[in-house]
Structure formats: structure tokens, C-alpha cells
């Protein structure tokens, strides 16, 4: 069952000054379509500036799409800030990277976890208290953590609090934006395991956004690869990582050092991801692609459906 569906969603930001200098706009997200199924994880992977975080914010309605549709549980998302939008928050929650900034340092862990219940007027005082204790246990924290403040916790513990807080109103969708990027490897493994367990227990749909291909591969059922605001490839996680079709995905996979093996399979990729302000004509990837042909320089490739669960946007694949 499809929980969240993005249909050709675009988001542009005006940049530069309107009176002086040329007025430009930056296309952060360009015609992105993806879906998250109930009980499954869709991973979004890409390098900085590829629009993956904006996609997450669009999915939650924290930003308004310029065009396209965001459907959540079959219904179009209401405009951000409206009463209806606020009510929908119970069902969709965000888990973010910078937990120290995102948790109010003047509130205790208990109050933080109970806050969504208070906002949505769920339960009464004793039942909320019980719910907080249950949630603390579910994320692997103890009752004694309830009275602590965020700065008294370690990064991993704070991420658990963020998770508990997100789970409090019993959502059906979690959008995780780089949830483990700020954590050490050992703690990262704790949180990743916890996420996987919680998903199995609660049947959550997860949109997992990360720059770390390893982690994305580990947690995702489907993977969406983004480059310069566009989806260049998506499909089942194993298929995308093991048989990448798009040259960018191939380079991305090869740039991940194997353990053991290192860079034995490395495919050199020149240059760096360009800034979204200077989008090349044609295929956005062609300046870095050593197999680029004339058509790549001129015409943007369509996202081609190759199988039931496989799409790729590359001229080399569509007409080799």
C-alpha cells in the first residue's frame, strides 16, 4: 500500500536580488517522483546540493511545492501552517541530524517526548506519562532519562529521544533526514538497528535521506539516486547498488571503499557536483560523464521505466 507519493514535484528558490543584478532562480528539486510504501523504507541518496533534504521537507509539507503533487495516505497535503496541515502532523514525523539544535534545551526529555501528545491533545496527564515511559523503553532508554535535559545526553541518546518524540503520536510515516550522519560508527549501528526494529514492530513507512550509500543500502527496500535536483535512477536496493545503470550511480557505488578491497573497483569520476545555480544543459551529469554523447549535451533524458520497479534517466541506457 502506498503511503506517500510524490508526483513530479518541483521546488525553485529565487536567488540574487530582484532590483539589482540578474534575477535567477535555483531549481532545488526538479520533477521528482517517488513513493514510500507502508512498512517499507525508501532511501534517497545523493551528494550535497542534490536536493535530497528539500525533497524530504516537501514530502512533509514543510515547504510548498511549486508544481506537482504530494499525496499522503491518498490525500493531497494541505498548505503548510493551516489547521488541517497541523492535524496531519500526527501521521507524519521528521527525524533530523542536528539533535542538539532541534531539541529545546530548557525542556526535560519527558516533556519533549510528551509535547506532540500535548499539541494534538492526545490522552490525559496519566496516560501521557505512561506513553512516555513506553516510548523511552521502546527506543532503549530508561525511566531515569525522563528528567534529564538534552545537553546531559550523548549524541546517540539524543537521537533516541528524537525518535521517541517522533513516534509519540503514532505516525505512519517517518522522514529521516541524515539521522545517523553526526554519530560515531558504533552509535550509528545502534540507531540503525533500532530503526530497523521499530519499523518491523510498528509497520512504519520510512523515507530515509542520507549521503552515506552504505547506510542507505543497509536500511532501504528501494533506493532513489538524486543528482542536481533530479532522480537519475531508482529501483530495488540490491539492484541499484549491485547493478547500477546510470553512470553517476556507478561512480557513486565505486567511490565507496570496500572492506576489504578498498578502491579496487574505483571508476574515476572527474570534478565535483556543480552548484544548483549553474545547471548544465541537456543531461545534468554530462560534464562529468566520460561516455557523454552529443545528445547528452543537448537533450535532458527522460526517466525511463525499465521494469516494474526500475527507472533510470540516461540516454546511454535508453538508446545505446
Amino acid at each position: 500500500m502506498t503511503l506517500l507519493q510524490l508526483e513530479k514535484v518541483s521546488r525553485r528558490y529565487p536567488i540574487g536580488n530582484t532590483v539589482f543584478g540578474s534575477r535567477k532562480s535555483l531549481t532545488a528539486v526538479d520533477q521528482v517522483s517517488l513513493e514510500v510504501k507502508k512498512g517499507q523504507t525508501t532511501g534517497v541518496v545523493g551528494e550535497s546540493g542534490c536536493g535530497k533534504s528539500t525533497t524530504g521537507r516537501l514530502a512533509l509539507g514543510l515547504e510548498q511545492a511549486d508544481s506537482g503533487h504530494v499525496l499522503f495516505e491518498g490525500k493531497e497535503l494541505a498548505a503548510s501552517g493551516t489547521r488541517e496541515w497541523r492535524l496531519r502532523r500526527q501521521r507524519m514525523q521528521l527525524v533530523y541530524q542536528d539533535t542538539l539544535a532541534a531539541l529545546d534545551r530548557r525542556m526535560t526529555v519527558g516533556d519533549l517526548i510528551a509535547e506532540p501528545l500535548v499539541i494534538h491533545e492526545i490522552g490525559d496527564r496519566p496516560s501521557r506519562r505512561q506513553r512516555v515511559l513506553d516510548l523511552l523503553q521502546a527506543v532503549g532508554l530508561g525511566e531515569h532519562h525522563r528528567a534529564l535535559y538534552p545537553h546531559q545526553l550523548s549524541g546517540g541518546q539524543r537521537q533516541r529521544v528524537v525518535l521517541a518524540r517522533a513516534l509519540a503520536p503514532s505516525p505512519s510515516l517517518l522522514v529521516c533526514d541524515e539521522p545517523v550522519s553526526a554519530l560515531d560508527v558504533s552509535v550509528q549501528a545502534q540507531i540503525v538497528n533500532l530503526l530497523v526494529d521499530l519499523q518491523q514492530d510498528l509497520g512504519l513507512g520510512i523515507l530515509f535521506i542520507s549521503h552515506d550509500l552504505r547506510v542507505v543500502r543497509h536500511v532501504s527496500d528501494r533506493i532513489v539516486v538524486m543528482y542536481l535536483g533530479q532522480v537519475v535512477e531508482d529501483g530495488r536496493a540490491d539492484a541499484v547498488i549491485d547493478q547500477p545503470l546510470h553512470p553517476y550511480t556507478q561512480a557513486l557505488v565505486s567511490a565507496m571503499p570496500r572492506l576489504p578491497g578498498g578502491f579496487d573497483h574505483y571508476l574515476p569520476l572527474p570534478g565535483e557536483p556543480p552548484s544548483p545555480t549553474e545547471r548544465p544543459s541537456g543531461c545534468p551529469f554530462h560534464p562529468r560523464c566520460d561516455r557523454a554523447k552529443d545528445i547528452c549535451r543537448q537533450t535532458p533524458p527522460e526517466l525511463l521505466t525499465l521494469g516494474p520497479e526500475r527507472r533510470v534517466a540516461c540516454h546511454l541506457v535508453s538508446n545505446p
Partner: protein, 277 residues
């Protein structure tokens, strides 16, 4: 690491001085030996006790034979009252405007930012000077006017705090939970900003004392028969050679009070918000 609250000597002295000033302000009618307008024409310009004066006029008397000590107590009362009232107004007005600018994007924000720019392009003392002269003067009006001092700085600060808490911070996180903006501002941003705004108030407070005394010194602030520290310095300047105590007593109080609040402000800043400069 020592966990004890360490208070250094200067902070201690500053607090003691401020307590003394507060006590004086509160008990001025009780401890003043004379009425502030009572003239003692036999003892005009009498020096302070210990410098050839009598115990009757502890800090000496002025050109009309009024008791400097009594006038000083009342002046402290007036000056502190004005500064306190004005600081509260300044922080409240500034915070409200800053939050409004942060919440409403677009035209409202641009308009408020322009107002802030305008205020920043005109020194407050000069604005106040013009306003006072043309509008006349009464104590409530004067306090209200002084309350405008530094509003633009507090507004900028409050806006900055609200924006910092915004999209990536705790305010954004609470917003995505579905909280009403009022809840976000009143329950999250305001309590989190309180410490910083309090520190900002300790910067505004001594400055208002200085502006108030400056205006009163120019004869445009507190009007006789009331008296304030600035009024006393203003009267004293005419007798700088013959009766320097008329000038020195209020000057010392102004300087020490301003220094004390600054020192205390530094201490509070270190304790509450070390990121502030």
C-alpha cells in the same frame, strides 16, 4: 573542575553597590534629612562633612542652601525608576517587534527592518532632544520616550534569536510536530531567549541612565522641582570652582552605578549566554 558558584571580587562589590542604590531609592523619603526644595539660605554652598562642613548637610549644600544628600537620595530614586521603567519598555517593545519581523515574512518584515535602519541612523539622544523640546515634558512621557532607547538593538537581537531557532532549530522541529505558532513563540522561543534578552537589558540599563542624565544635564530631561542625577550635575557645573561637591556627588553615583551594572551584566553573560559579545 570546581562546581561551586564562583563570584569574583568585582562582581561582589558591584552587587553590593547596586543593593545600596536600590535601598536608597526605596527608602529615600525615610532617610532624607531635608525636603529637597527646602532652602537653608544661611548655609549656602556649605562643604560636605569632613571638608569643613557640618553634619546638618552631610554632602554639603547647594547654591540655594538645599541639602545635597537629600537631593542625591531622591535623584537616585528618580533616575533608577526612569531607567528601570524605560529598560523594561525597551526590551518588551524590541522583543515584540523582533518576533513579529521574524514571524511575518515579506512586506511586514521589510517595513520593520526599515524602521530599525532609520532608528539606527539617528542617535537616540538627538531624537529625544528634538522630541522633548517640541512636545514638552512630563514624567510618564519622558519614561515612554526613554523606553524607545535601544529598541532597535533589542528587536534585531530578538529577530536573530527567533530566526536561529527557526527552520533547523528547535522551533522548526516543534513546528513540524504541528504546534501552533503562538505555542512555538511563547513556550519555546521566548523562554529560550529570556537569558539573552536579560543580558541585553543589562547593557541597555546603564546606557539609559547615561542618556537620561545627559538630557537632564542639558535641561531637557527631568524638570524642577523634581531632581535627578543629571539635573544635579547640570546645576553643579555652574559652581564647579566654588562648590565641586555639587557636581562630584551625583557624578560618582552615576559612574559607579553604570560600572556596577556593566560588571554584573558581564557576569550574567558568562553564566547565561557565553555566545554573546
Amino acid at each position: 573542575m570546581q562546581k561551586k558558584l564562583q563570584i569574583d571580587l568585582s562582581t561582589l562589590l558591584a552587587s553590593l553597590w547596586l543593593c545600596l542604590m536600590l535601598l536608597t531609592a526605596v527608602t529615600a523619603p525615610l532617610i532624607a534629612p531635608h525636603d529637597i526644595t527646602a532652602m537653608d539660605l544661611r548655609h549656602r554652598l556649605s562643604p560636605p562633612f569632613g571638608f569643613g562642613g557640618t553634619v546638618v548637610h552631610l554632602f554639603g549644600s547647594d547654591d540655594l542652601g538645599r541639602d545635597v544628600a537629600s537631593r542625591l537620595y531622591y535623584s537616585i530614586r528618580t533616575s533608577l525608576l526612569i531607567a528601570f521603567g524605560a529598560t523594561v519598555i525597551s526590551v518588551l517593545v524590541g522583543t515584540a517587534i523582533g518576533f513579529i519581523a521574524a514571524y511575518f515574512k515579506g512586506i511586514v518584515e521589510h517595513f520593520l527592518l526599515l524602521l530599525i535602519d532609520v532608528q539606527a541612523s539617528l542617535p537616540f539622544l538627538i531624537v529625544a532632544l528634538a522630541m522633548l523640546a517640541f512636545f514638552g515634558n512630563s514624567l510618564p512621557l519622558f519614561v515612554a520616550l526613554m523606553g524607545l532607547y535601544g529598541w532597535e538593538r533589542n528587536a534585531r537581537l530578538a529577530r536573530g534569536l527567533a530566526l536561529a531557532a527557526g527552520s533547523q532549530g528547535y522551533a522548526g522541529a516543534t513546528r513540524q510536530l504541528g504546534a501552533h505558532p503562538l505555542r512555538i513563540y511563547l513556550r519555546h522561543i521566548l523562554p529560550n531567549s529570556a537569558a539573552t534578552l536579560l543580558v541585553a537589558a543589562t547593557v541597555t540599563f546603564p546606557e539609559i541612565i547615561l542618556v537620561e542624565s545627559g538630557l537632564s544635564f542639558l535641561g531637557l530631561g527631568v524638570q524642577p522641582p523634581m531632581t535627578s542625577l543629571g539635573v544635579m550635575v547640570g546645576t553643579g557645573r555652574e559652581y564647579i570652582t566654588r562648590a565641586p561637591w555639587m557636581l562630584l556627588a551625583p557624578s560618582i553615583v552615576i559612574v559607579l552605578t553604570a560600572v556596577a551594572v556593566s560588571v554584573l551584566g558581564d557576569y550574567l553573560r558568562d553564566k547565561l549566554d557565553p555566545t554573546l559579545t
